[in-house]
Symmetry: C2
Subunit: 353 residues, 2 copies
């Protein structure tokens, strides 16, 4: 049976990537497994360099003063590293969801944080707009896509100070001007690879401006100076991410994938809006192309709908506990056919009910 | 051709583990890959719990107040976390190698560090002994095995304060009383699994005694309270580590592997001592069972020896730049046959020369 994996992350990866990754576990370089080769071997150093340059190339950031790093610890560690490396006096954060809120909490350990705007009171069902970013702050931090709530920033403010963005759940999914950001970070496990590595894209000239002593592993400069190999990197996760980035490049890059993602999301939102049994969670103008959140108008249909989904090979659509209902995550590697399968079940439920 | 992988880490893993890991990348749970399942799925939660309890079981630490965590960031991040979580005023460190030295450097950011003893002046070719550990310090830190120099602590001091040990390169390799330690950490990529996760074993009652505010991701308590699932764990690295720990358990645990490791190391050290072309680097009483370091008495033979090794399928034996010569790393998964193959080449060189 064909599986339709709508998991919010870790999530579906391209089939060709899984096949190559599986083969590399048995034989990657001259009979040796990707799991047992030295990270200092030429074959892996090539993988790391290729992954780093593909990331910059796909985002249109080559030759623009950016460095790409593959680190460990997830976006949660970036909440901390951003503050340690950039926060001297005060920073402005946009509070658009649970992860943004966590980023604020971690940064507060180090210094003063100002919430430029928040949608917390509406349980984050929209993206705040029309706020000011004070120009004497150290940096402005935002979250481009809010996985849990299914909202996404369509436009970014003109920031007078360095702009930092958590793009964990929508990096590489659309064609925007990535050079408006000074630091981008993203856990791999949604659009880029398996869990276990975190991509950081950083404009070098924003570093070195804080007075605190930064521990080596938390210092972006350490990792930049060592080409993302200061200590043993997560070899397999970086390799699989490189495969996924190659897949995306061969597909036509972020422009091509945006078209595909747009089709998928228009299909599901149109079903949510037209089918009287379902209701979207996020306000329409802020709906995410990656995660569609919706609820059943009649909770009594839940058991039937869940059983029909299971029957159709659909998995991973349970909503996050803080929203309830359903969440269909449609990352780059999820096919249009999978969305069609889900929409079919939704519409079948309507004809049954 | 059979490969003999003496790499210092990432390093050889059991063949059966690689086969299972490779298969799981294609199909782990009901048609879904281990790379695309949710870390909150029952199947992965089971993996994590199994890996954590296997780690404690194999070290004989079950039911003794210890918790096992699978974190990210390598031992290098533990240098920092140990200090953040335990260092209030002063700590004592044994400086027995490059990694111990790095651990000291990172801890110094936070407070005063006292080197109880050091073998730095002898380029770490022995393990310092006969030092005192002041009882009013916060903790004592040591490194059980020094990968680069090929030295290993055979005995540990009776510590009047919590004892922290970096066991990255010899955990699970021998039968010792692991309950003499209050905190043990180890990067997976030598005896336990692929690069990308770090095992931390911690006695809970040593925590909560420092006054500083610890960032969530750096706080052992955060990870303990969330069962090592505070944020997305490195799923594949944890799964493969679990497979390796299962393999070890089926083999008979640390007692059985110690016997095998002892045979391997006695074989190579006897060749080093008997073959006039080679010379051991570490002092005899401190020789590591995991990493044998040695040099050629006559550098002119290097090219011939290297070519013969290549011919015999032997890889990964180049010494670290700070020692030179050769290093044969013989972690748990390396077979006695691989050591025999190396010793054969060494003895063949002697008969040729």
């Amino acid at each position: 049976m064909i599986k339709h994996n709508f998991s919010a992350g870790p999530s579906v990866l391209p089939k060709s990537v899984m096949e190559k990754a599986s083969e590399a576990v048995l034989n990657f370089d001259n009979g040796l497994s990707i799991l047992e080769i030295s990270h200092r071997s030429k074959s892996f150093v090539d993988v790391m360099e290729n992954a780093r340059s593909l990331a910059l190339e796909l985002l249109g950031l080559e030759g623009k003063g950016y460095k790409a790093l593959f680190l460990q610890g997830g976006a949660s560690t970036q909440f901390l590293m951003v503050a340690l490396n950039l926060l001297e006096k005060r920073a402005g954060y946009l509070n658009s969801g649970t992860w943004a809120d966590k980023a604020i909490k971690e940064a507060k350990i180090y210094d003063d944080i100002y919430e430029v705007a928040s949608s917390k009171n509406a349980n984050y069902n929209y993206i705040p707009k029309g706020y000011d970013i004070p120009e004497d702050y150290d940096y402005f931090h935002c979250t481009s896509n809010n996985t849990i709530f299914g909202t996404q920033m369509k436009n970014f403010p003109k920031s007078p100070i360095p702009m930092v963005c958590d793009m964990s759940s929508d990096i590489f999914s659309r064609h925007i001007d990535y050079s408006q950001f000074d630091l981008i970070y993203a856990g791999a496990q949604k659009n880029m690879g398996p869990a276990g590595t975190t991509l950081v894209i950083i404009k070098e000239d924003i570093l070195g401006k804080v007075s605190r002593k930064i521990p080596s592993m938390m210092d972006y400069k350490t990792h930049i100076s060592k080409g993302s190999m200061f200590n043993t990197p997560p070899v397999f996760a970086v390799y699989t991410s490189m495969l996924t980035l190659e897949w995306l490049k061969n597909l036509g890059g972020v422009k091509a994938i945006e078209e595909a993602n747009d089709k998928k999301s228009r299909l599901i939102y149109s079903e949510i809006d037209l089918n009287p049994l379902f209701k979207g969670y996020a306000v329409k103008e802020d709906r995410s192309m990656m995660n569609a959140t919706f609820t059943l108008e009649n909770e009594n249909l839940k058991e039937t709908f869940d059983a029909m989904c299971l029957e159709a090979g659909i998995s991973g659509i349970n909503g996050h506990r803080s929203v309830g209902g359903y969440r269909a995550s449609m990352y780059n590697a999820l096919s249009l056919d999978s969305v069609k399968a889900l929409v079919e079940v939704m519409s079948e439920l309507e004809s049954k009910a």
